[in-house]
Symmetry: C2
Subunit: 203 residues, 2 copies
DNA sequence: TCCGTTCCTGACCGGATGGTCAAACCTTTG
DNA sequence: CAAAGGTTTGACCATCCGGTCAGGAACGGA
C-alpha cells in the first residue's frame, strides 16, 4: 500500500508516525483521533505528518493494510498435516501471544469491525472469508476422521478469536476485575485456554 | 440517573432521543457520533435534542447508566443454590440472548471499554468487580465440592463474556464469514456454546 | 376563548480540526 | 562550497461541531 521510503529520514519518520498513529487510533478510534494528538505523540509537527502521508485517512489505511498480514498469519500457519489438537492449541497460543504483544493492533482491528469495518469490508469479504473457509474444511476433515470432537468449525474459530482478543480489547476490564495482585493475566489465560480447548476437542 | 419525565411528550421524546443516540453512538463511538446525526435519526432538530438533554455527554451518560443494569442482571441471577452446570449454562444462554436482542447496547459497552472506559471506570472498579468477586467465590465453592471442573473462576467468566459478546460486537465479521446462507448465527452459536461449556465443566 | 407553560427552531457563535502553502532550513552531492 | 533537492514549520483557511438564544408554535387548564 504505502510506497517504499527512499531516504533514511523518510523511513524513520514514516515509522515514527505510524507508531504514534497506532497509539492514538487504537485508543480513540478513527474519528476520535486528531492529527494534533498523533503529531504530539510522534514528536513532529502536524504539517510534517502531512508531508509524509497525504491525509489522516491515508495514515489509518496504511496501518490497517499492514495489520491484516500479522493478523491472519497464525491461522494460515495451521498445518493440515499436523496433529489436530496440537495445531489448534498452537493456533490459540499464537493468537493469545498476538493479543499480549500487539494489543494496540488488536484494538485498532476491533474498533474497525465494531464500526462495521467501513475501510476493511473488501478484505474481510474476500481474504478472511476464504481463509476461514479453507481452514474450516480442514477442521471438518479432522472431525470426520474422528481425531477431534464434532463441532461447528466456524464457530470454533470464532470462539478462539473471541477469547484471545478479549484480553487485548477489554484489557481495561480484565485488569480491573482481576485486581492489581495479578498484573499479567496472560500466563493464567494461556493455561485456561489450553485446558478449555483440550476438553472441548477431546473425542 | 436521568430525571423522571413529567409530560407525555417529554417521555416520548426523551425515549426517541436515547434510541437514536444508541444507534449512532454504538456505531460510531462517542467522538465519532455527532448531534446532527442523532438529531436526524431521531427526527428532531439539534436544538430540540439539547432542550431535553443538557449536552452530548449527558445523552451518552444516560445511555451508559441505564445499560449497566441490563448488563449485570444475568450474572446477578446466577443462583448459588441451583445446580452448577444448569446455572452456568443458563447464564451463557442469557448473555447470548442479550447479544442477540441488544447488539447496539453491547457495542456501546464495547466501544466504552475499548477506549479505556473513561466514563465507566468507577462502576467497573466497584460494582462489576465486586459482583465478579462474589460470583467467583460461588464458582470456586462448586469446584471444591467437585460439582464442576477446577478452573480459574474469573477466566471462566471472561470466556463467557468474550464468546457471547463476540456475536454482537463483531456482528459484521461473523455475518460475512458465515455468509448469507446462515443469516441468523444465534441458534447455531447457542448449540455450540452449550456444548463447549458442558464439556469444559464436566468433572 | 384566553393565558401561562411547554415545546420547538432558525440563526448564530467560538473553538476544534483536517488540510494548505510559502518560505526557511537542512542534507547530499557534484 | 554552492546548487539542488529533500525536510520542516508558522501562519492560515474552510469546515464541522457542540452549544446558545430569542422568539415563535403548540398545548392544556380554566
Amino acid at each position: 500500500m504505502s510506497p517504499p521510503r527512499r531516504t533514511r529520514i523518510q523511513r524513520r519518520n514514516s515509522e515514527t508516525i505510524l507508531d504514534a498513529a497506532l497509539e492514538v487510533f487504537s485508543a480513540q478510534g478513527f474519528r476520535g483521533a486528531t492529527l494534533d494528538q498523533i503529531a504530539e505523540v510522534a514528536g513532529l509537527s502536524k504539517p510534517n505528518l502531512l508531508y509524509y502521508f497525504p491525509s489522516k485517512e491515508a495514515i489509518h489505511l496504511a496501518l490497517l493494510s499492514r495489520l491484516l498480514e500479522t493478523w491472519l498469519d497464525p491461522l494460515k500457519a495451521m498445518n493440515p498435516d499436523g496433529d489436530p489438537v496440537t495445531e489448534i492449541l498452537l493456533y490459540v497460543r499464537r493468537k493469545l501471544e498476538l493479543s499480549r504483544d500487539f494489543p494496540r493492533e488488536s484494538r485498532l482491528f476491533a474498533n474497525e469491525i465494531l464500526q462495521g469495518a467501513p475501510r476493511m469490508r473488501r478484505v474481510i469479504e474476500t481474504e478472511l472469508k476464504d481463509l476461514v473457509a479453507e481452514k474450516a474444511r480442514i477442521l471438518t476433515r479432522w472431525m470426520e476422521e474422528g481425531r477431534i470432537a464434532r463441532l461447528h468449525p466456524v464457530h470454533l474459530i470464532f470462539s478462539i478469536w473471541a477469547m484471545t482478543q478479549h484480553y487485548a480489547d477489554f484489557e481495561m476490564q480484565v485488569g480491573t476485575v482481576l485486581g492489581p495482585d495479578e498484573p499479567d493475566p496472560y500466563p493464567e489465560a494461556g493455561l485456561y485456554l489450553d485446558t478449555l480447548f483440550r476438553r472441548l476437542l477431546a473425542v
